[in-house]
Amino acid sequence: MKEDLVFNLDHGYAEGLCRGFRSGILKSTDYHNLVQCETLEDLRLHLQSTDYGNFLSNESNPLTVNVIDDRLREKIVQEFQHLRNISYEPLSTFLDYITYAYMIDNIVLLITGTLHQRAIGDLLPRCHPLGSFEQLGAITVADTPAQLYTAVLVDTPLAPYFIDCISEHDLDELNVEIIRSTLYKAYLEDFYNFCKSLGGVTAEVMCEILAFEADRRAFMITINSFDTGLTQDDRAKLYPTCGHLHPDGLQELRRTDNYEGVRDVASRYPQYKVLFDGSGTNTGDKTIEDRFFEHEVKLNMNAFLRQFHFGIFYAYLKLKEQENRNIIWIAECISQKHRARIDNYIPIF
């Protein structure tokens, strides 16, 4: 309780600002207007009346979906970096932890690009700005994970996550995905422990969100690995252990071979049973990924119901990203004139 008394001393302004940003998230009436647009120019016009304002006004015609994607991402990066700049400890460490996920994505993007013989100049602009660090450009010189570690990553914040990945195998397609999953597992568990050490409402809110993220990754790794050469033991090394599924559910997931088996494991946990029941693999049903997105949005919205904690910063970033995905989905449907599934965005408000 006593952190309620002193929270505002260091983080009150940042919280007020973040809640102000959150009130600019598009509502259902805005989405109704957007799905009725005929062209991307209409979309730009409708976005001008929302919190986005004139962010697309300097773009030349014709407008493409890639340009919209870049501008949306730029806006959210600007807001996040402003919050990071005005924050004090321990909020700044918390925001730094959020950026490590983007660093992992950038590293994997660069390694994959190098394997496909693309030039470094093409790849660097495609990296996510929130995940940039000084040694990013030097990643392309490494051939094996061991070299990658000793040459590049040992000075970055990602160094402790890399311990499990060091091996002398060359970097190739399958290995890169395994590296991504291993890094992400270590990062998620570290973030979970950090939030737990912060205690109070932050721990309550964030640990629930991160536990769901861990379980979602376990499910998706299992489902996506069914037809690949990944053995059950290798798969089990990639499951994050900070979720509700640990340890029994993860053991069960390790032994399943098909989608029905995954569904059985999920049915033992009431919150996941509901998600799997509402989805299906037929066309016209919602996929399980969509249900996971909806659940994530619900958890992030609930974070805003409590005051004096850090969870709202994480939740705001994730909700804005979901909104960006929604806008790009609608924009793609409009630009390809394939409006049948334009309503399949995930509503936030």
Binding site: N8, G16, R19, G24
Partner: protein
């Protein structure tokens, strides 16, 4: 409570030494040296009264300051995206400020009762000591009540500012909660005036 081994050790050592000293005095027949009555008598009533004034003003101001800070930063943060809240939410700041004013009033009231005395007769001295204790109690009451009241009004005001930024109809409702919160400071003021009533130090 996350106390380190060092602080636990220091605390146990302190308690141990106190028990040792107390037992030594008691068992060697020197227990009369531990004389609380002598200690209280040797503190002049002026000391009590003036500490009362210090507590009244300083604790009230501390409460008001924490409250104004808590509300002020939320108004600043929320006012970036919703500038309309800036003026209306100054009411919360004014209610925090009122808490500091209660402390000021009691400080002045208590200091008005402090006068010098020359008597040495025990039955009259007793009345002077009573006056000193009453003024100390009055100052402590109003100080602590206003400390908690100020912090409470500040935290509720912070919530009111952020809620107002999202939905302007919520402000008046949360203001009612703030009014109840500032009433507890008023209770402290009333009891403190009753305590300092009749504290007469003059001959």
């Amino acid at each position: 409570m996350t106390t380190s081994y060092l602080s636990k050790g220091a605390l146990s050592a302190g308690v141990g030494l106190t028990i040792y000293a107390g037992l030594t005095y008691m068992l060697t027949n020197y227990g009369f040296r531990f004389d609380i009555g002598w200690f209280l008598l040797s503190i002049s009533p002026y000391q009590w009264a003036l500490i009362g004034i210090a507590l009244a003003v300083s604790l009230s101001v501390l409460g008001a300051a924490l409250g104004i800070f808590a509300t002020g930063v939320s108004i600043l943060g929320g006012g970036v995206k919703a500038p309309r809240i800036r003026t209306k939410n100054l009411i919360s700041i004014i209610m925090c400020e009122a808490v500091a004013i209660y402390g000021l009033i009691m400080g002045i009231v208590i200091s008005g009762s402090i006068t010098s005395f020359m008597t040495t007769k025990p039955e009259e001295l007793a009345l002077k000591y009573r006056a000193g204790y009453k003024l100390f109690g009055a100052g402590l009451t109003v100080g602590l009540c206003n400390l908690f009241c100020g912090v409470c009004v500040g935290l509720v005001g912070s919530g009111a500012a952020l809620a107002d930024a999202q939905n302007s109809s919520l402000f008046v409702r949360i203001l009612i909660i703030e009014i109840f919160a500032s009433a507890i400071g008023l209770f402290g003021l009333i009891v403190s005036i009753l305590q300092s009533n009749g504290a007469n130090m003059s001959d």
